[in-house]
């Protein structure tokens, strides 16, 4: 029989205001095995843990139930506290009477009754708890970064600087990501390339960093400390070792009609191409869908002009298999498609553009050589209208429910830059709210208004109507003046919502990292573990976790790197001891469990068993503790109940069911 102590936390008034904690304590003392029960304002505090320590020592407790917040919050805290007092940490169970009780119920009687039942279920479980010892698993001292934008670059650099090898997998032919497409950055108006390019060079040159561009993650198996990843290196058709990056092939390539991805389709590129001049690696790829040689078999000009003989039409996709201890996801974002926002005429007029397109237009290396001009007729626009929140903060399914966070600032940047460079161009910004939380952000926005004369109008635009003369009629409302506005503009810039890179869903599935309804990767804890995925060994960097600007991305990238380094620095990891085990006397050796095990953790061996005096050799399932992650799929598949999960055993769960239904 266990000697159980029950500790009921008030959590200030978070619990105590809705749950009669004294009553829970009193009821706990009636439960079988309970020899001690008390309540305290903050169990997780130093003083609270001291109470637990004292009770364990004085009452010789063998198990603990802490009625408090979610186990996802403080289970570890209380387990550590138990361990310090000499108790096996797995003899602790949490009754979640905050998130699952006090916070959602108002009626004190109901909430108290429920808290008592949750306490009872936890006591029933502890009664059947057994001390568990975690095993050990090794750590492969190498990290994988998925995505080669600023987030991935920064994470890789930080990890490599700490002395661990890092691989970057980038889907496109060059690293650099979204930031390489930007012209200037807020709030300091630095040139984006000027600050990014050196970092790209640094990554390329770093002895511990290996870049797989034009590559994708094919599969991921294993677990924290020991992931095995297959990387598909798509056929580049150019030998990376031979190419000198002279660019002659691109110049001579006769197929030049493909829309440039880098320039957001505002210009075209050749079939053999590097996305932009500062690409890293500076090695082109052949776009086989556009290449005449691949389409017709004829041509081959690039091969002829290449002095280095780097062109290789025979190249095939290659699968590289590599082991990693940690994986950082930095898959970034894209703009949403605007095809469901017909009212803004994006698909009808060339002069209605997105902000990212404007970045390219403003960029000296962009399609217009940095001249601000209308794409329809090349004329300089005199009236520019910016429309905010296109697809952001949307309650229907046309857009996104969240605020994209970066638009207010980049619009202020754009407005300011335009007014600076073209003082005779008027800029009007239609906004709903201007959000500028950040160092020097509001000052930046105010400068746009006060120093640059940008006209900010509170009110969303209802419609953009292209006029026969090429002008754009913008119909908006000024909610402050309470009047409707009809404004003729030469160019309209839409601050389209950003969304996670669509590929992230596939990657999240491979990594078993959880993802929210908007496809942002979920962090382990919104406040306390913002750069870790709930899946151990998976870290989050940049916009894949949520909308962020560059400074935030870089700091998160550093944070993710530190978390990864912390993991890689360990020689061994303690494994979760809540693993499956097969009772050799009950096991049929039928192989059903191995069929459902996602980790290949179950094997079979012929073993001599002594079944109450009958000795025979039987085929028995054996679970590899290091591989088992404790999902429990095998336990339900096993018809004889031989397979059971430590920490969540059949009897424990049944005991919880019984306690709840009592």
């Amino acid at each position: 029989m266990q000697r159980i102590g029950v500790f009921v936390c008030h959590c200030g008034t978070n619990i105590a205001a809705t749950v009669d904690v004294k009553k829970v304590v009193e009821m706990a003392l009636h439960e079988p095995g309970v020899v001690h029960a008390e309540d305290y304002a903050y169990m997780c505090s130093e003083a609270g843990q001291e109470l637990i320590h004292k009770a364990i020592k004085e009452k010789h407790l063998t198990g603990l139930v802490v009625c408090s917040c979610s186990p996802r919050m403080h289970e570890t805290t209380f387990r550590n506290a138990a361990e310090k007092a000499g108790l096996n940490p797995y003899m602790v169970e949490i009754a979640n009477i905050r998130e699952h009780c006090s916070w959602i119920h108002k009626n004190i009687d109901e909430a108290t009754e429920k808290a008592v039942i949750l306490m009872r279920a936890a006591v029933a479980k502890v009664n059947l708890d057994a001390p568990l010892q975690p095993g050990e698993s090794r750590v492969t001292k190498r990290a994988l970064v998925i995505g080669g934008g600023i987030a991935g670059i920064q994470t890789a650099l930080d990890i490599a600087e700490a002395g661990y090898p890092v691989d970057i997998v980038e889907k496109t032919p060059s690293i650099g990501g979204r930031m390489s497409q930007l012209d200037k950055t807020f709030p300091t108006l630095d040139c984006s390339s000027c600050i990014l390019t050196p970092k790209m060079g640094e990554v390329n040159a770093h002895p511990l960093i290996n870049i797989y561009t034009y590559s994708e993650v094919e599969s991921v198996s294993g677990f924290v400390g020991d992931f095995t990843v297959e990387i598909r290196k798509k056929a580049r058709s150019v030998d990376m070792n031979k190419c000198t990056g002279c660019g002659l092939c691109q110049e001579k390539c006769p197929s030049k009609k493909t829309p440039s991805e880098f320039n957001r389709g505002l210009s075209t590129r050749s079939a053999i191409y590097t996305p932009f001049a500062q690409a890293v690696p500076n090695v082109p790829v052949i776009d086989r869908d556009a290449c005449i040689k691949f389409k017709t078999g004829k041509c081959g000009i690039c091969s002829k002009v290449c002095q280095a003989g780097a062109i290789d039409y025979e190249q095939k996709d290659e699968i590289v298999t590599e082991k990693y201890g940690a994986i950082v996801v930095a898959t970034g974002f894209d703009m949403i498609k605007l095809d469901r926002y017909d009212e803004y005429a994006y698909s009808q007029s060339k002069d209605v553009i997105t902000s990212l397109e404007l970045e390219r237009i403003m960029n000296a290396a962009g399609p217009t050589g940095g001249h601000l001009e209308r794409l329809s007729d090349g004329k300089a626009p005199k009236e520019i209208v910016f429309i905010q929140c296109v697809g952001s903060r949307c309650a229907d399914d046309r857009g996104k429910s969240y605020c994209s966070k970066i638009c207010c600032m980049y619009t202020a940047k754009h407005a300011m830059l335009i007014r600076d460079k073209y003082p005779d161009t008027n800029v009007t910004v239609f906004y709903i709210d201007v959000r500028t939380p950040g160092k020097n952000f509001d000052e930046f926005y105010r400068r746009a208004v006060e120093d640059y004369g940008v006209n900010y109008i509170k009110g969303q635009v209802g419609k953009v109507i292209p006029q026969p003369d090429g002008k754009l009629l913008v119909q908006g409302a000024d909610l402050i003046d309470n009047k409707q506005i009809l404004k003729e503009a030469d160019m309209v810039v839409l601050a389209a919502a950003i969304e996670p890179n669509p590929d992230v869903r596939k990657i999240a599935t491979m990594l078993t990292a959880s993802i929210d309804t908007n496809n942002f990767l979920t962090e382990a804890h919104a406040k306390l573990r913002p750069v870790e995925s709930p899946t151990a060994g998976i870290f989050l960097s940049g916009v894949c976790q949520g909308p962020k600007d560059i400074p935030e991305t870089v700091s998160q990238a550093g944070a993710a790197a530190v978390k990864a380094i912390g993991l890689l620095a360990k020689d061994k990891l303690l494994t979760n001891p809540c693993t499956a085990h097969s009772d050799e006397l009950l096991c049929n050796g039928c192989s059903q469990c191995a069929n459902v095990c996602p980790y290949g953790a179950i094997s079979y061996e012929d073993k001599e068993v002594n079944d109450h005096g009958i000795r025979e050799t039987r085929r028995i399932a054996v679970v590899n503790d290091a591989l088992c992650q404790g999902c429990g799929a095998c336990t339900v598949t096993c018809p004889s109940g031989a397979m059971d999960l430590q920490g969540f055993s059949n009897r424990q769960i049944l005991a919880e069911v019984d306690a709840i239904c009592r």
Binding site: C590, S591, N595, P639, S640, N650
Partner: protein, 324 residues
């Protein structure tokens, strides 16, 4: 039958097999028992007739542990069970010499009794060689007859076919006996209102005496120790009690064999209370076929069963409520 006996003797004599697992004539005309034959003279009692309904594949679990090969006589439907047991590593194919025996449908003494025939002294027409359409039954209350077909086990009316799934050789001819839809009974229940369904199963299951005959005869229930016998699982119950126990037992048992049950029908054959237990298993089979694609357990050696595999597009459990 003679051909079978001759061949068995031959294989025994030349040392190919160490024993023969077949049926021994009973002391009544209808109760042959599964038996091992190791010596030539044992074969005097060897029998294979319409009453040899028992599925011998389950005995092969124990026989696989014996020295040498065992010759086992398996009817077409039994071979599905054997193959399923192979898949689950419960029998050793190397330890078995399988003679696939022909089948013309097996008889159910309970059906004969339910026609009011009692005091049976002898039965003719059940011999496997006979093409008899009619059974002639001599009783202390006079001679009675009944059509062979009317005395057949339920399972033979919905026979899966007369092909053996696994065998070393086949002896004897078979005759098609399928004349009913395998899922007709299930559909009938599905069409009932919840109240009718509940009343139906309540009535049937109230007869259960928890004798475990269904479980112990079942080739899929091959667990060394059943969860219902195991104290570890907190579910051990030996006898029927007030209410839920039987349903729990039968649902869990059906669930444990779901995707593995070959629908051999032994559970219903042996139930002393005549509970149509196959209706549980067949419901799962029907659902599996409809929701996850046609599947016949024991028809191949593919290790994954419908419950140990999945498709991304599988239907959601809400389908149950939707289809009403």
């Amino acid at each position: 039958m003679q051909e079978l006996i001759n061949r068995a003797k031959e294989l025994l004599a030349d040392g190919t097999v160490a024993r023969v697992l077949g049926w021994k004539a009973g002391d009544l005309p209808y109760n042959p028992e599964p038996a091992y034959f190791e010596k030539e003279e044992d074969f005097a009692d060897f029998v294979y007739n319409g009453f040899c309904g028992a599925n011998l594949s389950k005995y092969m679990i124990e026989a696989s542990k014996l020295e040498g090969k065992t010759l086992v006589c398996l009817k077409p439907c039994d071979t599905y069970s054997f193959q399923e047991l192979m898949k689950e590593h419960r029998v050793d194919r190397e330890k078995a010499y399988i003679i696939g025996v022909g089948c013309k449908g097996k008889l159910d003494i309970e059906k004969i009794r339910s026609m009011g025939i009692k005091g049976i002294k002898s039965i003719s027409g059940a011999e496997i060689e006979d093409e008899a359409e009619t059974l002639t039954i001599d009783t202390v209350y006079g001679e009675k007859t009944c059509a062979y077909k009317d005395a057949m086990l339920e399972r033979c009316h919905v026979c899966k076919g007369k092909d053996h799934m696994v065998f070393d050789e086949v002896i004897g001819e078979s005759k098609e006996t399928k004349d009913a839809d395998r899922f007709a009974e299930v559909e009938k229940i599905e069409a009932m209102s919840p109240e009718e369904k509940f009343a139906f199963f309540q009535k049937e299951l109230s007869k259960c005496i928890r004798c475990n005959a269904c479980r112990n005869v079942c080739p899929a229930c091959s667990c060394r120790k059943c969860v219902f016998d195991s104290n570890k699982f907190d579910s051990a119950q030996k006898a029927n009690v007030d209410s839920f126990e039987e349903k729990m037992f039968h649902i869990i048992r059906a669930f444990h064999v779901a995707g593995r049950c070959t629908d051999c029908g032994e559970c219903s054959r042996v139930c002393p209370q005549g509970i149509p237990l196959h209706l549980f298993n067949r419901k799962f089979i029907k659902d599996i076929n409809e929701l996850y694609g046609e599947y016949q357990a024991g028809a191949d050696l593919e290790p994954r069963t419908p419950l140990t595999s999945y498709e991304f597009e599988d239907v959601e459990p809400g389908i149950v409520a939707e289809r009403g």
